[in-house]
Point group: C2
Chain length 297, copies 2
Amino acid sequence: MDKTDIAIIGQGPAGLSAAIYTARAGLKTTVLGCDPKVAGNYDIDNYFGFPESITGQELIELGCKHAQKFGAELRCEKVLSVYQNADGRFDIKTDQSELSSRALILATGVSRVRPGIKNISEYEAKGVSYCVSCDGFFYKNKKVLVLGEGIFAANQALELKNYTPHITICTQGKKEKISDDYNALLQKQNIPVLPGKVKELSGDKFLEKAVFEDGKTMDVDGIFLAMGEASSLDFAYSLGITTRGIFIEADHEQRTNIPGVFAAGDCVGRFLQISVAVGEGAIAGHSAISYLKELSG
Amino acid sequence: MDKTDIAIIGQGPAGLSAAIYTARAGLKTTVLGCDPKVAGNYDIDNYFGFPESITGQELIELGCKHAQKFGAELRCEKVLSVYQNADGRFDIKTDQSELSSRALILATGVSRVRPGIKNISEYEAKGVSYCVSCDGFFYKNKKVLVLGEGIFAANQALELKNYTPHITICTQGKKEKISDDYNALLQKQNIPVLPGKVKELSGDKFLEKAVFEDGKTMDVDGIFLAMGEASSLDFAYSLGITTRGIFIEADHEQRTNIPGVFAAGDCVGRFLQISVAVGEGAIAGHSAISYLKELSG
């Protein structure tokens, strides 16, 4: 498994600003993720230093060049899961590789993918879950449905195999985007992928049934949400990091409650602006440097 | 007196980033102060977006152009004092004009001018003061010395006239930089300006004497420090804002404890970097906009 000092998840302004600091400090820095939301073809006109506006795409390209100049490695890989192992390191699995890191900066922005199930909030903590490593245990040999169209959903379904053999993936009406490798793994584990869309849930005290758009129903004990790509929030759940709604709790030094894990940018949910993400990224980088210095004694 | 919606004191990255937001939101924005410390001829190589480094001077010029593009007025004036009047507005006096503002953003950076008096800390709150409007009252008809070489010291001395006629200014070994206008005012008020340097203080429980480098002594009851230019910290003292050492206390929204007053950048004392100042400036601007919206109901 590759080793790094600091893994940064998210290649937007927060992640790249953090990388500029950590790489410049001589720490091995690996930035994961690609195509950040901000990298579009629209004008940014309120980021200090660019009076003639610049497109998101151009700004991200400048940031990538900037981080690489100091030696940061940028890997365009989708992160599927992050766990902390017994010796405190962070084990990161992507769609292409595995990586072990001494410190972690979460900077994926905020995910807004909603499943579009009308009464889903009624069943939260009563069958609806966002995190296999947090809640999988409660579904031993139960029937579970994983909602999601991509490798993140596939990976969550494969993790659920540790708890139950009764797993189905439903793309929730989206086009399936699972890679051939992962489709082969799912087949081997007898995990079917359905194209339908759950529109409603039912059940007396706890979740009992999923109702699909075409009127069909399926008996289920649990639904795991894993739509789109895994976000900082998903990693926060599996690492046991304190959250506040869809945001991650971080202090003035961008530290989360887990030593060695920092968060910056939109996923922290202050003022969702590039300038703020850049400042928080710099602070997160600085805090990660201090953390590793202390670790090394 | 000129009126503005938002007065920003400090023309560095924090102040200009705040101005970009407030001016862009259509609020009348006046940025005071000039020649920020960062505007030098050295390279900045860790501000996201500039992989080929940029000088401080060039970056500030871009920032000024950026803020002006949205209509912010930049005034190269030295702020001498800020008070909040009974209707909640902020009255700002500069070396050239007076201005009344509905909200205030402090962003002057942090002042590092030290008087170089070896036992000064022993007499803090026992004769040594940083703020005429806070402590002048305690020196009614007493003998006071104002340390400082510029207009800020002159203005502090003139304010002390409300409390006592026994005032002397000492430039503390620096070249006197008081303007002709202010020198005329000092003469009219019989306030002498000495070129010496206080090296030590003496007194039993409270300050009694200042000892100069040449060995001479002067009987004094109070010493007011006003070296260099007035900084955010000085304005914080006179506005009753909570401070922490030489820094201003601000929350996640860059609010101080006084409604309508925000602080950003180095004067808040987090991680003293341009990227952080820019992010905090954006947040301070945003918070000031929200504050004025609420005020207007």
